[in-house]
Symmetry: C2
Subunit: 144 residues, 2 copies
DNA sequence: CACAAGTAAGTTGTGCACAACTTACTTGTG
DNA sequence: CACAAGTAAGTTGTGCACAACTTACTTGTG
């Protein structure tokens, strides 16, 4: 009716479209690594610091064990990581990278700046976009 | 290695996170209508103008028949639309709203400006965000 | 007009997201 | 120390996304 809900859902749709378009740009590059985008995100987290618990990874990416458990099993099946029950706390499963998993970091480093190239936005605009999105996401999380 | 790919994937991740956070804000409201977010998008397209072919809907939303065919069957099962083979061109399936489908528009109009409320951004910032995202999505699509 | 090329919708299969739940363990309290 | 409450990971089930393919129809060309 009024314009506000319209803008509202336009922003939501714009996010939904942009997100899918961005991962679509990454897809062919990641396919060469044999990874999906969410798998790549998990590997980024592990390359930064490992071993990590499932919960820790989930907190970094905003994903729960319902998504991560099967995803991590797939990464393990690919030979990129290992899931080891913690001795200290048997509820925890520590995710360790295998040598192959660590090696993949090099290949992934060669991922071209596809999005930046394809974005049609200046570095400043990208920077500002990331900032605005970060604040938006935080506010939306606070709102429950 | 350099900073550019980092910014690159930060923007991609920011989009992915913001998109999921935004649909999460819509989810409880849409649940009252019995719709998922993609189903709501299809209904928005149909409320604007109907009947429409599956392909037309797909072009508006950037979705293919692999996603839409089962989704439309679910909307039909909910009694919100009907799928009718076109007489003129038997390849086409025209999606018509049922009275219940048309009625839902009223209820959906009452969807509060949840995102705007929750966004923690000014109307101008939201406006600019939508703009930047629109240009980004278009450029990413051009880039294939 | 025959038939290749094109097109619209649907199907199959994989991998997320996410809600709701279960299992197995640990921690805090009386 | 017993045991309720809490916690970490996993499971089950639904609904997208998307690639690759199929089916049924239409259109354009010689």
């Amino acid at each position: 009716m009024t314009d506000a809900p319209r803008l509202d859902h336009q922003v939501c749709f714009a996010l939904y479209s942009a997100s899918r378009a961005a991962t679509a740009v990454y897809r062919p590059v990641l396919e060469e690594l044999g990874l999906t985008y969410p798998q790549y995100l998990v590997m980024l987290v592990l390359w930064e610091n490992e071993p990590r618990g499932v919960k820790e990874i989930g907190e970094e990416l905003g994903l729960d064990s319902g998504t991560l458990s099967p995803l991590l099993k797939r990464l393990e099946a690919l030979g990129l990581c290992e899931r080891r029950r913690s001795g200290e706390d048997e509820r925890r499963v520590a995710i360790h990278l295998t040598p192959a998993g660590r090696e993949l970091s090099g290949k992934a480093g060669a991922i071209p700046q596809r999005l930046a190239q394809a974005a049609g936005l200046t570095a400043e605009e990208l920077d500002q976009l990331r900032d605005t999105l970060g604040r938006l996401t935080a506010a939306l999380h606070d709102a429950h």
